[in-house]
Symmetry: C2
Amino acid sequence: MATIKDIAQAAGVSLATVSRVINNGPKVGKDTRQRVKLIMEEMGYRPNANARALVTKRSASLGVVLAELHDPFFAMLAHGVETVTRKNNVQILLSAGSIEKETELRAIEILLEHRVEAMVVHSKALDDKTLIDFSKQVPGFVLINRFIPEIANRCVWLDNVTGGRLMAEHAINQGHKKLAVISSQYRIDDPNHRLEGIVNATEAAKLTLPESMIEYATPDQEGGELAMQNLLATGAEFTAVLAYNDAMASGAMTMLQDHGIAVPEQVSVMGYDDVLLAKYCRPKLTTLRYPIEMMAAKAAELALKYAAGAKPEEGLTFKYTPTIVKRDSVVRV
Amino acid sequence: MATIKDIAQAAGVSLATVSRVINNGPKVGKDTRQRVKLIMEEMGYRPNANARALVTKRSASLGVVLAELHDPFFAMLAHGVETVTRKNNVQILLSAGSIEKETELRAIEILLEHRVEAMVVHSKALDDKTLIDFSKQVPGFVLINRFIPEIANRCVWLDNVTGGRLMAEHAINQGHKKLAVISSQYRIDDPNHRLEGIVNATEAAKLTLPESMIEYATPDQEGGELAMQNLLATGAEFTAVLAYNDAMASGAMTMLQDHGIAVPEQVSVMGYDDVLLAKYCRPKLTTLRYPIEMMAAKAAELALKYAAGAKPEEGLTFKYTPTIVKRDSVVRV
DNA sequence: TTGTATGCGTTATCAT
DNA sequence: ATGATAACGCATACAA
């Protein structure tokens, strides 16, 4: 592949001049610029991003750490990031961390080795201290879906406690008194927080939510089916089910319908996330909107801004609150 | 950030020695190795991938060009690639090309500038010649979802003509004689090929498929709804609908149900792709399995192999054929 | 306006 | 086993 040197030689000018042409530098004759450009075209010259990054110490790239790409949720996240990187002519470097400590760590390290300027990190397995340390090394370090007080101004996150509360309140407002909960079996913050919000709301409404009305399973459709199966097996009575996410809600609905229980006529179901699926499934899912795409875009902007030298404001954080999307899976009782 | 030089200084050895330690070079004393490693640890040393890429001319990265990240289909594609890059300690560089000539071109160029070793490209807007040219520049250049005879051995693609035929044949075998088709309005190869297969099958079965029974819309749920609405508005009669993809099929089902037409009792519906949605929607979609994740993994492997110097075998290509997944949206009539 | 020279962080070649 | 040194491709301060 042709280098700047080859171009200089072919054009009969110096390296510096070519470099200036490439970067639209100011001090270069109009005709020389023309000629050099032509030759670059002819020789199919492409600047070497690595060499450039080495000397300028700026890589024009943003690293993204996420769990699993095939999860639609992370696809939305990635897309949110992409909208802003594209606008800024910044490249995306992807690193998957599958919610395992070692992998997440390695994912971040790899991005660091590539000297990405900014970083949007979705980490659930790493501890606060590790993340705080990284944020000190990388000016453009931003966390998504996580809140760490010490670096609050680098956190773009969803208030899941409020989310849980909103879910439960909505069900309660619709007259439901016997609630069941289908949660994720992974003991990370998100399910804990959502559950906390649900419990708060039930207590405030003087309802009881016995442990037996809470089922845990994998946070996907199969998990939702399984959890509902278990719930039904215990013979428990409930008129509304609050699921950890839309996939579990969908699974739960399927299982209910398979048992001849009409949704929402006999049992109401609520999801969380508002992914595509929520609109596609029948009945359409009443759920909580998790504006992950918007949040991811925000995180990317922030990361780029910090990377460019902006100082994170003290005492600031980027908290989003989910909102209820009323569709057809919940009815008044 | 500490460099190899800093480490050398701190350890009282030369650059060369440190470099050897980093790369697990052979000729270095056991104790020196220990000491250097310790110091690297202490100083938080991280090799600079850019510098390394510059001198070794190998970037340990694979570029991916795809259309839209938030499309679950591309999320699967990305995931397929990721499974093999992870295994090979190769980094993913993402570039979105939104099915526009200019953007796709720019996406590839950017990856080229980063000197990615391998490339998995999903391009629909670029012409054959351009792609062939690129493949000559980049040894590890592989196309996914596209077939170009001149570089057949770099193409991992799905036989959409056969796919279309299988769809139609399945419907016909189930006794359906009046078919309707919902296709994509984008005049790229995929819908054309699928339609071609459908037409072939209908002709072989001595059925007619008038142009009025084919509706075109955007390849998403809204498009499916719209297309079905149009179809119903014309008063056309049909007992089976073949959709361009699962999203359109889902939209079509919704619209049918909204019009009080039972699926599959009154009208059967078939999708294409077998994305998550196909299992989630009600009735579960009978569709064609498009093993995109597997294909993407194959493409990535191939790209890496070619990048490593393996010569593309002449006359070879990587064609996949979709298979029918029978679920609940099609019945015998 | 143009050219020269230096250095970015690393690997690799050649000495020692 | 270890060190000195020349690249790699580019940007840039300094000269001319």
